[in-house]
Symmetry: C2
Subunit: 342 residues, 2 copies
């Protein structure tokens, strides 16, 4: 089906765009009352993730309500460990918990790669339903967690300020860590390819806990596997967003992907220099700017576009939108991008 708005795909491919495309991480859900209305009827977050019709509905809400230039499939990075056999629970205020964690070689051997993709059928169905209902309005972004970030949760068992158990694992159990990362990588490659077959127009890898590793560990235990994924999934433009990995920007510029996401700590000009002119950049407004006045939001958005320029650029925040953000402020940001970059 022909896309009516393919701005973000052209920006990702490095083609000329008449204005800067814009979307938000975590735009599907969190900030919209329309999302919360659906969410409240359900038993929990996971029911929403695993019910394709509902996942599709909340995926499309931000396109309808906020007028974003892309939809991102409503899901979670932790569906992959779950599909490999490591169940998680999503606790309301506390975040994800894994009742069992990975400690030994036997734990890793128990993880399935073979049936993992079948277990993720509900994601592919959600993508198909979404594509149908989007009817070509905007591209649909698929995604996965980067292998290191998934290992971090699978070993730590929950979110953490330090992820010290997961980081200890990298030092103490190097061979096991590589074995686990390779297994996650293999599944992730199949998972992303299947997302594309199901209709995803574009992909993003989230390395949410990149910033907690020392640079040498990041290269050894994260970038290596991200690089494998980039090489193996050439079908659609891929974005790598490694939060906090300021120290790896030069190396990220050499990845076989199209777009690099920046967080709000990364200076724009310096990042462009380190990453190089070939890549498209995405980001990186501080999500807290959306707490300020309409005037301030417009001012900061304009300044950001001035620094990034209007080509090879996808506007976004430097992280997911915070849950208590006023949706009218989000709209203001999106409109400001469209206005100032045209």
């Amino acid at each position: 089906m022909l896309l009516k708005n393919d701005l973000i795909l052209r920006a990702a491919k490095g083609e000329k765009t008449e204005r800067v495309p814009v979307w938000l991480m975590r735009q599907a859900g969190r900030i919209l009352p329309e999302y919360r209305a659906i969410r409240e009827r359900l038993s929990g977050f996971k029911e929403l993730v695993t019910t394709p019709q509902l996942a599709a509905e909340v995926t499309i809400q931000p396109v309808d309500i906020l007028d974003t230039d892309a939809a991102i499939i409503f899901s979670d990075i932790l569906v992959v460990p779950e599909a490999m056999g490591l169940d998680y629970e999503m606790l309301e205020a506390k975040g994800p918990i894994f009742p069992k964690t990975i400690k030994t070689s036997a734990d890793i051997e128990l993880l399935t790669t073979k049936t993992a993709i079948e277990n993720l059928a509900y994601v592919f169905e959600a993508i198909r339903v979404t594509k149908k209902e989007l009817n070509g309005r905007v591209p649909l972004i698929g995604f996965a967690g980067a292998p290191w970030t998934l290992l971090a949760y699978m070993v730590e068992g929950s979110g953490s300020k330090t992820f010290s158990k997961a980081r200890k694992f990298l030092y103490s159990e190097q061979a096991l860590a590589h074995q686990l990362l390779q297994k996650i990588t293999d599944v992730t490659i199949l998972y992303l390819k299947e997302q594309v077959k199901s209709g995803a127009d574009m992909l993003q890898l989230f390395d949410s806990w990149a910033g907690i590793l020392p640079p040498d560990h990041y290269k050894e235990f994260s970038l290596k596997y991200i690089s494998q994924i980039c090489d193996a999934v050439p079908e659609v433009p891929l974005t790598v967003f490694a939060k906090g990995a300021f120290f790896a920007r030069r190396e990220m510029g050499k990845l076989n992907c199209r777009t690099i996401g920046l967080d709000w700590n990364m200076e724009i000009g310096e990042s462009r220099k380190l990453i190089g002119d070939d890549k498209t950049l995405q980001g990186n407004l501080d999500p807290c700017v959306l707490y300020t006045s309409y005037e301030e939001i417009r001012k900061h958005t304009r300044q950001m576009i001035k620094e990034f320029g209007t080509q090879k650029y996808i506007a976004n925040l430097g992280h997911g939108v915070y849950p208590d953000t006023d949706k009218d402020k989000v709209k203001c940001f999106i409109e400001a991008v469209k206005e100032y970059s045209a």
Copy 2:
């Protein structure tokens, strides 16, 4: 009194040292059974902080047990907001909580600068007792939180993954933020000067939440005040440790202080280039290395010293030692520094 071991002071001043001095952040407490034995007898953390004889005792423990080249006074960065009139509680697993937070100009006006220093008399007494009992064995480090980090707690009311309330305050209430930061800075300058008068041989500023700010905000709301403190406290060598502020290393090189602390995300060679040859550097072993084998600890320590060199350098971890670290592993790190740098 003449110091028997003044290695760390000479390293900080850029003078020649026969080997690299070493100490740990959070060395006073946390990892030592001898500390926990004292702690268990008391009503809570704050009783320990506010009782000079006990604070002195746990300050000296790591010198006795671990053979560090410096003691750091046992205290907390949050004693300053408390002394200004904003009480905090230290909850066992949750960390600090401020029942009241700063929201308005009136809240800031209520904070005292005049009596703040009197309210901190127990810290100065703890320093005097410690100095007497140390009897010149090693230098004593005094410290304070950087103004931005204190504001972050005072506005947020607790620790936080995003400190989004505190960061919102910087965007929405710029004038109030500056008013509060100046007030904290004024008290901090008096506080550090009084620590020196009481016997502190050296000082460190902890900017624990530096890494959560965008670079322009960091310069405006944090470095500006750190710079004032550096200029106002020339009596003893001062170290600035701004965790996560990789983007400000060049500017930190221009501060009127002697030492810059690096976290484990910051590459050593690059940091030296950005900060310049004049400053002494401190850091930056990943605290997780101390979870590994004695052999691995020695290997990583040796590599670190090779990268830093043995002059204008103070060995440390890249953050506070994690509470579940084996004290024999800490000892191994300390001995490895002494052995490899001699």
